[in-house]
């Protein structure tokens, strides 16, 4: 059978480590921008986090959006956003965000909106989240991320050396901050599915870093006399073809999800897409150079490896 994709099989010798200073600057800018945006403008949290109501309604015939808005305004229940989906005036989104209402008024409002709109509509989807549940979620998600980082740090420490654990955790933290930062900078809707995607991104990024580290670990034993910087660079080149090939196949899957997944998976796909790119970048330019900052060679066990 013939192969058509041969370009990646070539042995490469890019000078990744030599360009690390630029990469540091770039990474720093990205991280600072993310953190600044998170601190200054925060997130566009969806109802999952802030509490509120999200309804998707559909009708058989075209409806007058102005008339619908009047009906909703007449409820006098604060700001209710009404938005048309599609172009034929048959599908709408109704949206309220948590205003510190207590749980029960939230649920009552669902019923009120239903009655106000009347029987012309089919309620395709209704989500109502009380503000209490929402605020807990922020807390829970943060804990989840910290726990994941900790577990990964310990595992790598046990399987590799502490320098690797530090590098991998730093790289992962960078990926997490910039991915979350992306959602803050562009004010994309931040919902539960995004949290799932971010954990998947974390998984992918660690996966990527460990494959490179595994090669460093091996090369450290193989080329005992080689200086650390060239060795790290060689390891990056050794794993480059694999990194690219895997990124490409995963990229396909995510692009397809972005196109076909609909509104529900949009945030998920955006987070994944960005995570793929930044995860690959971070493995090469954050995780690898960090190793060269510490003397990994000293801590490696002295053992002879049969050639």
């Amino acid at each position: 059978m013939t192969k058509f994709i041969g370009f990646i099989t070539k042995e490469t010798d890019f000078d990744f480590v030599g360009k690390r200073k630029y990469a540091y600057v770039f990474s720093a800018i990205l991280a600072i921008a993310s953190i600044a945006s998170i601190l200054i403008q925060g997130f566009n949290f969806g109802i999952d986090f802030r509490g509120g109501i999200l309804m998707e309604v559909r009708s058989e015939k075209a409806m007058d959006i102005g008339e619908m808005r009047q009906k909703l305004d007449a409820l006098n229940m604060g700001e209710i956003t009404l938005q048309q989906i599609g172009s034929d005036s048959k599908e709408f989104l109704i949206h309220t965000l948590g205003r510190g209402d207590n749980e029960s008024t939230q649920m009552v409002l669902v019923q009120k909106i239903k009655t106000a709109l009347g029987s012309d509509f089919e309620f395709v989807k209704i989500d109502a989240v009380g503000p209490k549940v929402g605020s807990e979620l922020v807390h829970k998600s943060t804990i989840a991320a910290i726990l994941a980082l900790l577990a990964i740090f310990i595992y790598i420490w046990v399987r590799f050396e502490w320098q690797f654990a530090l590098g991998c955790t730093a790289s992962l933290t960078f990926v997490l901050i910039t991915t979350v930062g992306l959602f803050s900078i562009f004010q994309f809707d931040f919902n539960l599915n995004v949290v799932a995607a971010i954990m998947a991104v974390a998984g992918y990024s660690v996966n990527d870093t460990i494959v490179s580290y595994d090669r460093v670990r091996e090369n450290l034993k193989k080329y005992r006399k080689m200086e650390l910087l060239p060795l790290v660079n060689k390891s990056t080149n050794d794993t480059l073809s694999r990194t690219l090939l895997t990124s490409i196949t995963t990229f396909f899957a995510v692009i397809i999800l972005l196109i076909l997944g609909g509104e529900a998976l949009k945030g998920f796909s955006i987070a994944m897409l960005w995570g793929l790119v930044i995860g690959t970048f971070s493995s090469i330019y954050v995780a690898m150079p960090i190793l060269s900052l510490f003397d990994v060679k000293k801590s490696m066990p002295v053992e002879e490896i049969p050639a």
Binding site: T2, K3, V195, A200, D214, T250
Partner: protein
């Protein structure tokens, strides 16, 4: 000479067969599978976001329960102090304690002791100045919360079962939450109505020695209390504190009609029946109040002794409200009110749409990855493709076997693993390429390729598994579903990429005996 490990062939073959076996029910019509197939051989369990239905998250209002308990402690404090003839002022209920001021300094110690005796196990009594504070211990509070949540789950289950909903799922979540999943229900209002009342019922005698108006002005005997009437039974009632019979002695309730009006009939257990008979015999001509959730729903005159252990409750009922009350009385009272803190409803059409687009996304990304692998690795790409197909089959098989719930993010997880799963193959193949370049024979290269790639595959997948596991533990609903498929995907990927691909390559080597391989 290539040796094929028999065990490897058996394991791979067996897993492949099992995967096919457990995937099969997904291809039969749903009603047929449900009726004719055994419980352990069923299709994938679809989440509410895919099959349509309602999800409610209820919170047990334990603070209400604790307030109630404190109120009853307050009554006890009053009666023990009166009994001991200790003079006090300012007896009241504060945030989470009962407080009383003892007038005479030399009675303070004695007062503290008898107050502490009220419920020695669960409370602590402390003095500060001339005041005695009585509060629940931490353990007692936790115990109360715990048992309230447990009881509530049971009662919620009973009430929902009475509705005859198809396969409802009722689970406790955390300390004081209950998660209710109702597949196929797209209007949960009725369920919410049924869960909206604690339905605590009790019979009390009306205190005829005073009038509500006098009582409001402060002429309320210590042995009585003031209750307002249900809508339509406006006004206040003065009732004697001692309960005639409590709702816990009811064994059955139903709706009957009395003169064309709906009423609720009830039946007591033996103990309740006896107490009720005695109380009615001694109080003929007086009024008996029926109190539901701290409101009088009716207060009829006792005309004769009611001895049969059963009776009817008249009130301002419609047939529906009578039916609901009967249902709630049958299921039992909730220990504390429930509050809906989260509600999600998905219509069946949207669920079906999601499944369809999820399927298309999975199939499409599979096709793309399949083609890509062949383009990149030729024949070996084909081996990886066969492994990928089995990988997806195994995932669906495992999901079906474990009866794990598949959600929309879960489908995204499958699509994602399709893209990521070839990673292990790529790692191995790139290694084999390197070994070939180093001048090894095909067999040696393949062995070395698998061997050298193994540590990377293991370490990277195990750490990803951490992320999946944490998502599963901390996530809820749809996110949990993603954690499940993500984790299953990692396990199946390791299996197919390492064991299955290698087996395919070995079989090929054995029968083709190539002198060189083109990877």
């Amino acid at each position: 000479m290539v040796k094929l490990s028999k065990w490897r062939m058996i394991v791979v073959g067996l897993v492949a067969l099992l995967s096919v076996f457990f995937t099969l029910p997904n291809f039969f019509p749903k009603n047929m599978v449900e009726e004719k197939f055994p419980e352990w051989w069923q299709p994938v369990n679809l989440g509410l976001d895919l099959q349509g239905g309602s999800y409610l998250l209820l919170e047990v209002q334990t603070d209400v329960l604790i307030k109630e308990q404190l109120a009853s402690m307050l009554d006890s404090v009053r009666s023990v102090l009166r009994e001991a003839k200790i003079r006090y002022v300012d007896l009241r209920l504060d945030e989470d304690f009962v407080k009383v001021k003892i007038l005479k300094a030399d009675e303070l110690q004695q007062a503290r002791e008898i107050i502490a005796k009220i419920n020695r196990e669960d409370t602590t009594a402390e003095t500060k100045g001339q005041e005695v504070f009585l509060s629940f211990t931490k353990q007692a509070l936790i115990k109360m919360e715990n048992s309230a949540a447990e009881q509530s789950v049971e009662i919620v289950r009973k009430r929902i079962d009475e509705l005859g909903t198809r396969e409802p799922s009722i689970q406790r979540q955390g300390t004081n939450r209950i998660q209710v999943q109702l597949p196929g229900i797209t209007n949960p209002e009725r369920v919410k109505q049924l869960l909206g009342k604690t339905a605590k019922m009790a019979f009390y005698l009306v205190d005829e020695s005073t009038t509500p108006a006098d009582a409001q002005r402060g002429k309320l005997p210590a042995s009585s209390f003031l209750v307002s009437g249900e809508d339509g039974y406006a006004g206040q009632y003065v009732l004697k504190r001692s309960v005639v019979v409590g709702g816990e002695h009811l064994t059955d309730a139903g709706v009957t009609y009395d003169g064309g009006r709906p009423v609720v009939s009830f039946k007591f257990d033996t103990f309740g029946g006896k107490k009720f008979a005695n109380a009615t015999k001694e109080n003929v001509g007086k009024r008996l109040a029926i109190v539901l959730d701290n409101k009088v729903i009716s207060a009829p005159n006792i005309q004769t002794a009611i001895v049969g252990g059963s009776g009817i409750i008249t009130g301002n009922f419609t047939s529906e409200s009578a039916r609901d009350l009967a249902l709630m009385l049958r299921a039992g009272a909730l220990p504390a009110p429930l509050e809906v803190v989260e509600e999600r409803t998905v219509g069946p059409d949207l669920g079906a749409d999601s499944i369809r687009s999820g399927e298309i996304a999975c199939i499409l990304s599979m096709l793309v990855v399949l083609a890509f692998m062949i383009l990149a690795y030729g024949l070996f790409g084909l081996f990886a493709d066969i492994a990928l197909l089995f990988n997806v089959l195994m995932q669906v098989g495992m999901l079906s076997m474990l009866q794990a719930t598949l959600t929309l993010p879960g489908i995204a997880g499958i699509a994602l693993t399709i893209g990521m799963s070839v990673d292990a193959n790529i790692l191995i193949y790139e290694r084999i390429r390197e070994e070939l370049k180093a001048g090894r024979s095909p067999l040696n290269s393949i062995e070395a390729g698998f061997g050298n790639a193994f540590s990377a595959i293991l370490d990277s997948n195990l750490t990803s598994l951490f992320c999946a596991f944490i998502l599963y533990v901390l996530g809820s609903g749809a996110v949990k579903g993603f954690g499940v498929t993500f984790a299953i995907g990692i396990v199946t990927t390791m299996f197919t990429a390492i064991l299955m691909t290698k087996l395919l390559m070995m079989i090929w080597l054995k029968y083709r005996r190539p002198t060189s391989i083109n990877i």
